[in-house]
């Protein structure tokens, strides 16, 4: 589904965020991107959602070369994705329902369908009964679940999540991972950038470790194992039930 061929990305001409990255992600895979800050995780996701273009190499999504995609076709491609950010990126002058429905309105769907799918997405994300509230009135975890609901509401084939649990405590973070796992089980390909080593080991999914713009390692960590080089922390008190 996703193929990166010799992809490099430089900002301001000579600050290299990615260097000669080759990567293949199959449809339906759950892939975790990890590594220190500045390793290139976010840049890789930005290349996939076309917020940036590669300086060299090719980014292919279902055979389409994103690096050469005309600007007019970018919106069409983005409608097939769901994107979640660390800072939620919600509209605070609209209700939770309107925030989630936003992604459907862009598709020009009938109002009845927008309402039905939005309510279903809110329910899936444990936000039933909160559609009429302003996001300000929700906790951080709930706000991130609104962002996830917005990313999932139109049932995208690809979900890109950039540090989705970075601003959340362990329990709320784990709730978000569970929602992403559920979407993956429904068939979506998921790429998540995270520093959360506990979640990485609890999930035991394919993990790409990036450093200095290069893929340092690519594999599945042992289930429940911990990286000894990282500070210890308790696993969330939530059972992994994909």
């Amino acid at each position: 589904m996703i193929e990166l061929q010799g992809v490099s990305k430089a900002y301001a001409g000579d600050i290299w965020a990615l260097r000669q990255v080759d990567l293949t992600v199959a449809r339906g895979e759950f892939v975790i991107l990890t590594g220190p800050s500045g390793a290139g995780k976010s840049t890789l996701l930005r290349l996939l959602n076309l917020s940036a273009r590669p300086s060299a190499g090719r980014v292919l999504l279902e055979g389409t070369d994103l690096s050469r995609l005309p600007g007019a076709e970018v919106p069409q491609l983005r409608r097939r994705m769901g994107v979640v950010h660390q800072d939620f990126r919600l509209l605070y002058d609209r209700t939770v329902f309107e925030n989630v429905a936003f992604a459907m309105r862009v598709l020009g769907l009938p109002e009845a369908e927008i309402k039905r799918e939005t309510l279903a997405a809110l329910e899936r994300c444990g936000l039933q009964g909160k559609g009429g509230l302003n996001p300000h009135k929700l906790s951080g975890g709930e706000q991130q679940r609104v962002a996830v609901a917005r990313a999932l509401v139109h049932d995208p084939g690809l979900i890109l999540a950039d540090e989705p649990t970075g601003n959340l405590d362990a329990d709320n973070g784990w709730e978000v991972f569970k929602l992403l796992l559920a979407a993956n089980l429904r068939g979506a390909t998921v790429l998540v950038a995270t520093h959360n080593q506990n979640a990485i080991h609890a999930l035991a999914k394919r993990t790409l470790r990036l450093r200095d713009g290069r893929i340092e390692s690519d594999g599945v960590p042992p289930l429940g194992g911990m990286d000894e080089t990282l500070p210890p922390g308790p696993l969330p008190a939530v059972e992994v039930r994909p």
Partner: protein, 300 residues
Amino acid sequence: MTLRYLLHEALRQAWRQRLLTLVAVSALGLAALFAGAWALLWRNAQHWEASLGQASQLAVYLRPGANGAAQASALAAAQAVSGVAGVELVSPEQARQSMSADPQVKEALDLLGDNPFPAVLKVRLGSDAPADLAAVSQRLKALDGVEEVDAGQGAVESLLKASGALRTTLLGLLALFSAAALLIVAAVLRLAAWSRRQELGIMRLVGASHAFIRAPFLLEGLLQGLLAGALAAGLLAFTLAWLSARLAADLQVDLAAFLPQGVDGVLALQLCGACGLLGLLGASLGIATVTLAYEDEEAH
């Protein structure tokens, strides 16, 4: 993308930035007022010109003492002049008789004894255009036995000149205010777009097309223009009605005699349409810079 959604977004955005909206509507409204005043003057000037042309009649005074044969000769010559539709001879006797209808004038004439009036040819023009007055007047003046031609030409030309100058001035002001209104609308909607850049970023993130992002802004510009046009038409109509009432009450002057063409539905629609287009154009300019910035950002 439903019209209802776009309308809701445009109105919501306008309300959220009501001060800026007020500035944009005021600028457009001012331009609309000048446009309305210009249109009113243009319409009424056309009416004045037509009226003046229709009422144009020259008085050709024959030399004092011209006898019947000389009067008949001048009458025939005047009838043959190009641009003349009809000529009526008023003899000195007829003139005296006509003027004697006023007892005071009759008394004065009686005191004078001799008839002071010359024979006069009343000439009707063949054209409605007052511009023909000068040419016909020149031709008549060149005829034998003609002492003087009174065309009332100076007054007509002055009136037309004043009307033309006023129209040109108003047109200049209209152009100036339209350009200013255009820039203000563009700046207001650009500010609106920048203040909503996070929202626009999210729209782009979820796959909104440029048209989807721009449409509420364009609609907002159009609505601002329509509102400004309607307000300007209403204000012009109100001002004319108020002025008419004041002139009638204080000076017993009928404004409709000078300005027979007022603000009607057609003029109101024309103002709304023109202002709507101006608003749309301003919005288009304003939002173009923002979306171009996004495109530039995405290209890197």
